[in-house]
Symmetry: C2
Subunit: 169 residues, 2 copies
């Protein structure tokens, strides 16, 4: 049991990045590409810019919100991004049924970090504005982390998020 626990912990240490902020704005070349709201998580999807905007869309469109916390210099975030954008079913469902937000900075809403601030992590928010802390990944101490191999679980969690809290009551 202890061995199992240790092996799970080792996976998790390797799986997520702590949030250590860079202290320099990237130095610009002569001509830089405009920064995109998608940050590479699906240029063809419609991304909200801020949490406030995303909540507005979720409420007014009656769609669940999917919040992806990530960092450009975190290899685990980058690996997840690659798997996320390559998965057609996820991209299609995200496009059709979700309000999307990806963030490289934490918000002031502590409900978005039920078990701490780390990346990558994915949280769902119900259109009733409730953070769905019950929809988690497979790792016990970083509950909202996903690995590239977890795309089936992520897809099934997206489908769970589509079943609204109100309907479940």
């Amino acid at each position: 049991m202890i061995k199992e626990l240790l092996s799970v912990l080792m996976v998790l240490v390797a799986l997520t990045c702590s949030i250590v902020k860079p202290n320099e704005i990237p130095i610009k070349n002569e001509r830089v590409e405009p920064q995109t709201l998608s940050r590479g998580w699906g240029d063809q999807l419609f991304w909200a810019q801020t949490y406030e905007e995303a909540l507005f869309w979720a409420r007014s469109r009656n769609k669940p919100l999917m919040v992806i916390f990530h960092l450009d210099d975190c290899p685990h975030s980058q690996a997840l991004k690659k798997a996320f954008t390559a998965d057609r079913e996820i991209q299609k469902l995200a496009d059709k049924d979700f309000v999307l937000l990806n963030l490289v900075y934490e918000t002031t809403d502590k409900h978005l970090s039920p078990d701490g601030q780390y990346v990558p992590r994915i949280l769902f928010v119900d259109p009733s504005m409730t953070v769905r802390a019950d929809i988690a990944g497979r790792y016990s101490n970083r509950m909202y982390a996903y690995e590239p191999s977890d795309m089936k679980l992520l897809l099934s969690n997206m489908q769970r998020a589509k079943k609204f809290l109100k309907a479940e009551l």
Copy 2:
């Protein structure tokens, strides 16, 4: 005096847009351009995504933050954007000495709407995290609104924002 007041009020009615949110996410064409963080206010500038991110950069880089509230479907915002991007001195100063954020949704920080929520409006925030409500435009009932003809005043206000509060004490 009353006549003057009335004429100022008329200008102001024409100058800014009320914030009425659309209730539809834009319908996508087959292939859409990725949304940019600049939203057309200067693709070559470095834009923060959220207020939290912008405050982080302002503090860590010791630079004032310039927050531009605007809307895509507000003609006054569009006219100001055109003047803002065409003004080389403003673009240069913004690039060199400011942390930049443009928002189409309000934040939860009421300090960013000292005299109400309207667009376009521009607020400065000191690196000490204080909103510079003292740095205003020329209109008495929409203090943080600017017209395209106000670019000289905006430039001079940017220069004022560079004189930090701590240094003034």
